[in-house]
């Protein structure tokens, strides 16, 4: 499966309208139905109250001010005051409930995105730039956040007040109301036509923001190369290019977003003018009163005021939708590493078996070609061969980080795809070529993801380390288990990282332990300690070692030679040496 978001995006972005995307977004609101109903009732009451008051004011002016009856004014003022108090309560409810809904929606949305990230396979991360992914998950959800936490309540409230005011206008005087609302019809068409363009501009801008942050991420993480090769200008030039691109796209998005406000303002003013001119005409022919004209003008404000707010909010909404599109591109991806039902069709009895396995990357480059071999339980296997020959890919297939493009991998009597990931990772320990440490302490990193020792006290943990023979390794860290790991990890050397990954894997007591050049940067004396530790693992543990140093592989029960997409048994160490020295290179 192709996980390249750049390609996924190109295909789907144009097809989806705001509404379809919105519908999916709203599905995150499912659990909120009850609260939403209450909130909507509050909004309804609140809007009705705020819409009723201009009518009452209009009546008061017509009936009492013009006829100079102050008592009537006081009665109306009393009624109005009560209504305002009631509105105070409902408005509080409305904001609180709607805002809560927004916050919880954002909460489940973020969780969904993160959950999806956890679900997707390694291939997804290899095919996308880390900086762009980070920008999608952080920056784009933040755009949604801004919409939810700042605009959503206003958005809903505005729509209600506006609709209510519109109904009142038509109800009070149909011809005048219709005339007053005519500019809004124009606005509706205008908005409908222009929104896709605005969203496109914003999507382009978010993309350039993503590119820029990917650029910064790459340059800053690799700053030492930039210094050592005297290419500070490279950083500047690359950044300047991204910055300039971002500037152009931001100007485009900014102009697009700002197009609504003046147009909406103009419509609002035209609406007022229509009411004034037409209203006075109606009064002159006796179809309307001055009091109602004043009331009508308030409703016009009640209608176009929120509409003008909607103009600003609509732009926010378009930004949020563009962000949402980029996020939903991730959400629509599915892991192709599903757990399948274990078929009864004659799985081999060996511990690990490759059967007619091919593997190609999405770009079409074939790395492994038609390989079949099997490994027995409790033995040690070494995989050697020139760089780029396919050793790491073979290891990835053994641990099912990838699935073969053709053929099958069987593990412990079953298709490896029939294990769920918990079971599989419990049975297979894999020490990656480039280990990653999380912010925290060495202890946290070693016990990371290891449920067995989760509730152990410090003394118990120390005993576990002593039993596994790991204490000597801890001496390689400044403050032992409590050595701090900060993000960026420049204070921990590559060799130390490899030691952590090693201890991490050994403590999990896997059935199959794969070391992919896992000790390459560790000195040979420490490495001997590692070998002793590996030897002490239970006799049933199968070990797969990928290495260049001969002393790491000479104790292997069997040696495989991997080159040009072929995995072959090398037989003796001497034969492996010959192959290494004389076989045609893959790279």
């Amino acid at each position: 499966m192709d996980y390249n978001l750049g390609k996924v995006g190109d295909q789907s972005a144009q097809k989806k309208s705001s509404y379809a995307a919105l519908k999916k977004l709203i599905s995150f609101m499912d659990e909120e139905r009850k609260r939403l109903v209450v909130a909507l009732i509050a909004i309804l009451i609140n809007s009705t109250l705020s819409l009723l008051s201009p009518i009452l004011v209009a009546r008061a002016i017509d009936q009492f001010v013009q006829t100079r009856q102050y008592h009537g004014i006081l009665v109306y003022a009393g009624i109005l005051a009560t209504m305002y108090l009631l509105a105070l309560g409902t408005s509080y409810m409305q904001t609180k409930l709607m805002g809560g809904v927004g916050q919880r929606m954002l909460f489940s949305l973020r969780n969904a995105v993160f959950h999806k990230l956890q679900e997707l396979p390694v291939a997804f991360f290899n095919q996308n730039k880390a900086g762009d992914l980070i920008s999608r998950v952080n920056n784009d959800t933040d755009k949604l956040n801004q919409f939810f936490s700042q605009s959503l309540m206003q958005f809903v409230g505005s729509i209600f007040v506006m609709t209510g005011a519109g109904i009142f206008l038509l109800f009070l005087n149909l011809p005048l109301g219709a005339a007053a609302l005519a500019p809004a019809l124009f606005l509706w068409i205008f908005t409908k036509i222009i929104s896709p363009w605005v969203k496109k501009k914003n999507a382009a801008n978010l993309k350039s923001v993503g590119n820029m942050s990917a650029e910064i991420q790459e340059s800053l993480q690799n700053f030492k190369v930039i210094i050592a090769f005297n290419r500070r200008d490279y950083f500047r030039a690359k950044f300047e290019e991204a910055n300039q691109k971002n500037y152009s796209s931001a100007i485009g998005a900014g102009l697009a977003n700002n197009v609504f406000t003046p147009v909406y303002g103009l419509s609002s003013n035209i609406g007022q003018l229509v009411v004034l001119a037409f209203g006075i005409y109606l009064i002159s022919i006796g179809h309307f009163t001055i009091g109602f004209l004043i009331g009508f003008l308030s409703y016009i404000n009640n209608f176009y005021g929120p509409l003008r707010q909607l103009a600003t909010l609509w732009a926010n909404f378009q930004v949020a939708m563009a962000g949402w599109d980029r996020i939903s591109q991730i959400l629509t991806l599915h892991s192709n590493l599903n757990t399948v039902h274990a078929g009864a069709n004659g799985a081999p009895h060996s511990f690990l078996e490759f059967k007619d396995v091919h593997f190609s990357y999405p770009n079409g480059k074939e790395v492994l070609h038609n390989n079949s071999f099997s490994l027995d339980r409790g033995k040690t296997y070494a995989f050697v061969g020139p760089t780029g020959g396919g050793k790491t890919t073979t290891a990835y297939l053994m641990a099912r980080l990838y699935d073969p493009t053709k053929g099958h991998v069987y593990f412990d009597g079953k298709d490896i795809r029939s294990y769920d990931s918990a079971e599989r990772s419990k049975k297979i320990g894999f020490i990656l070529q480039e280990p990653f440490l999380f912010t925290g302490t060495i202890r946290e990193n070693i016990l990371y993801g290891n449920e067995e020792y989760l509730s152990h006290s410090n003394e118990e943990i120390e005993k576990v380390f002593a039993d596994a023979g790991l204490v000597a390794l801890l001496a390689r860290f400044e403050s032992g288990l409590d050595t701090k790991v900060v993000s960026g990890g420049e204070s921990i050397s590559l060799g130390q990282k490899q030691l952590v990954a090693f201890m991490r894997a050994v403590l999990r007591k896997p059935d199959l332990l794969i070391l992919d050049e896992a000790t390459a940067n560790i000195d040979t004396i420490t490495e001997q300690l590692l070998e002793d530790i590996i030897k002490k693992l239970p006799a049933t543990t199968t070990r797969v070692i990928i290495a260049h140093r001969l002393n790491t592989i000479e104790n292997a029960d069997e040696i495989f030679f991997v080159n040009s997409g072929q995995v072959i048994r090398a037989g003796s160490l001497q034969n492996a040496m010959n192959l290494l020295m004389h076989d045609k290179r893959a790279s």
Binding site: V57, L80, F436, L494, I522, D523
Partner: protein
């Protein structure tokens, strides 16, 4: 994890003035404010036009055409001015953002490696993105909003007072009430915002690590604990969001209520004045309209005060980077290096413990030196010193007898090649990755490619040298990345070559070939190689053994075998290697 507080007290004591950022754009800002004031000024006229219309109708001399003309002109004026304002506002804010980014990146590009590590790349990323965004928001929204809001508040108040000062005063009292409520609520909100920022930082960190460490997470099946970590931070973010919301859900109704009360006052008091004849109905209508006009700007100023607070917090973070002392480059020597290197009593302290203690040794020009020692002994630090990535806390490094500091950086880096231990491949074509330094000619590049034994590999790529290799080089094997990096270092035709554990990911045969190529193609090269394998360096001119930051022994292989037990132990551990 808490970021260490900035130490520069001189910077802190004097609060950076954000307005300084704007001074180069004075012209634009003035235009922005003028346009905003024009648009809003005309807006103020509209209720006046309406009330005139109503009154003149009541008095029987209504001129429909004149009213329509005046009103249309005003509406058109507003449209044009707000449109122009939005254009200027977009350009101004984006220009400010772009230029600030450029300034920042230039500053960062001149900094030392140690500074970048200390400032933390992910914090700098925030500076370049979110912090700049909040300043952009300030320029695009706050300036205009505040100028026009103030204009409307003052204008509307003046007009209210001019129509009827008694009723005017009664209505204007809402301004301090609303203002006061805002002040109290926003003060609380701001504290929550700060907290929210921290939580979001933490959230982002979990996301970043889960992306960068994706393979590790898959292998360890720790998706669940990761999700837990995320959920926890996310829940905190939600709680803070809801706390802020609670404050706002109190604020907005209070403001609406206050405004409604002012409306009521207009009805009661205004009605009274109309009845007693001291005010017209048209004027009363105008009062209602102005009240509507008045509320929104007060709200806007309240919200903008928040934008300003966030922007100035962001600016002080940015300013910290901009004001950081720049790397001084006093070096002037540009001579071609012979390659004599001498370390004199070097001590480097990293954190609390010294990483290197009192190290001294000499490397002759054109010779080959190996540095060996256990994991975390300080070997990489030693190479960092020789490239000038870090500086010694004590002692000095001499190149051809002169302090390394005295060399012109450009010329120095041009003559020193460094192959890092961790694979760093840029998201560029293979050619650009190898000819990373600009001065590389095609011949030099070809020689480097041949020496690094990647000719066959490059030819096997779909677009040869022009093939783009990805960020984390996922399509390349560890050894291929390592050799591209070697080619990158050789392409500058260095006088000194520093290798950090280069052979770790390269198989023996290739390693032998590369070393042979090096000898043939780069005669006279001074080589310092950090390595684990003694076999490859037995015939080197010098071997330096470092343990826990201390120099244990130096000399040729035979000398060390004769008198250094630690060396013998390492040798024994690899004996089978030396077939």
């Amino acid at each position: 994890m808490a970021e260490p507080k900035p130490k520069g007290s001189a910077i802190k004591s004097q609060k950076p003035n954000m307005m300084k950022v704007l001074s180069p754009y004075r012209g634009m800002i003035v235009w922005l404010i003028v346009l905003a004031l024009l648009g809003n000024g005309i807006n103020l006229l509209l209720p006046k036009l309406i009330s005139h219309g109503i009154d003149s109708y009541m008095q029987g001399h209504f001129d429909m055409q004149k009213v329509i003309l005046q009103f249309s002109l005003a509406a058109l004026g507003i449209f044009i001015f707000t449109f122009l304002q939005s254009v200027v506002q977009t350009y101004a804010s984006e220009k400010v953002a772009r230029d600030l980014r450029t300034q920042l990146s230039e500053k960062i590009s001149k900094q030392s490696f140690a500074y970048i590590q200390k400032a933390n790349p992910s914090k700098l990323l925030t500076n370049l993105t979110s912090d700049i965004d909040s300043i952009k928001l300030f320029v695009s929204m706050a300036i205009v909003s505040i100028a026009s809001s103030l204009c409307i508040i003052i204008g509307a108040s003046a007009l209210l007072l001019s129509i009827n000062w008694k009723l005017g005063i009664a209505v204007i009292t809402i301004i301090p009430i609303i203002g006061g409520t805002f002040f109290i609520v926003l003060k609380k909100v701001r504290a929550l915002f700060m907290k929210g920022r921290e939580v979001i930082d933490r959230l982002n960190k979990v996301i970043n690590e889960s992306i960068l460490g994706a393979a590790t997470i898959r292998v360890l099946h720790s998706e669940k604990p990761e999700s837990e970590k995320f959920r926890e931070a996310n829940a905190q973010a939600k709680d803070i969001g809801i706390s802020i919301l609670k404050l706002f859900s109190l604020l907005i109704p209070i403001i609406t209520f206050t405004a409604s009360m002012a409306g009521l006052t207009i009805l009661m008091l205004g009605g009274h004045f109309v009845i007693t004849g001291s005010m017209t109905i048209g004027e009363m209508a105008a009062f209602s309209s102005y009240l509507m006009l008045l509320i929104f700007p007060i709200l806007v100023i309240g919200f903008m005060s928040n934008v300003i607070a966030q922007a100035s917090a962001s600016y002080s973070r940015i300013n910290e980077v901009l004001q950081a002392p720049e790397l001084k480059d006093p070096g002037t020597i540009t001579e071609i290096l012979r390659g004599d290197i001498e370390l004199k009593n070097i001590t480097v302290t990293y954190g609390e413990k010294p990483a290197l203690k009192n190290i001294s040794f000499k490397v002759d020009a054109g010779s080959r030196t190996a540095v060996i020692g256990p994991t975390a002994a300080g070997k990489t630090q030693l190479l960092y010193l020789l490239t000038g990535l870090i500086k010694p806390n004590e002692g000095e490094i001499l190149l051809d007898g002169k302090n390394i500091e005295m060399y012109d950086k450009e010329s120095f880096h041009q003559q020193t090649g460094f192959v890092f231990q961790d694979s760093i491949i840029f998201n560029l074509s293979v050619r650009e990755n190898i000819a990373f330094n600009e001065k590389v000619t095609d011949d030099l590049m070809q020689k480097a490619i041949d020496t690094a034994e990647i000719t066959d590999f490059v030819n096997s790529l779909p677009e040869k040298l022009e093939t783009i290799v990805s960020e984390r080089g996922s399509s390349l094997s560890g050894g291929q990345k390592q050799r591209i990096m070697l080619a990158r270092a050789l392409a500058i035709d260095p006088r000194i070559l520093l290798l950090d554990d280069f052979t770790a990911r390269v198989d023996n045969r290739t390693e032998q070939k590369i070393l042979q190529n090096l000898k043939e193609n780069y005669p006279g090269l001074t080589l310092i190689s950090v390595t684990q394998k003694i076999a490859s360096v037995e015939n080197y001119d010098q071997i330096v053994l470092i343990m826990e930051g201390e120099l244990i022994a130096k000399g040729r292989h035979e000398e060390l075998m004769a008198n250094c037990p630690e060396y013998i132990q390492i040798y024994e551990s690899q004996r089978s290697t030396s077939l």
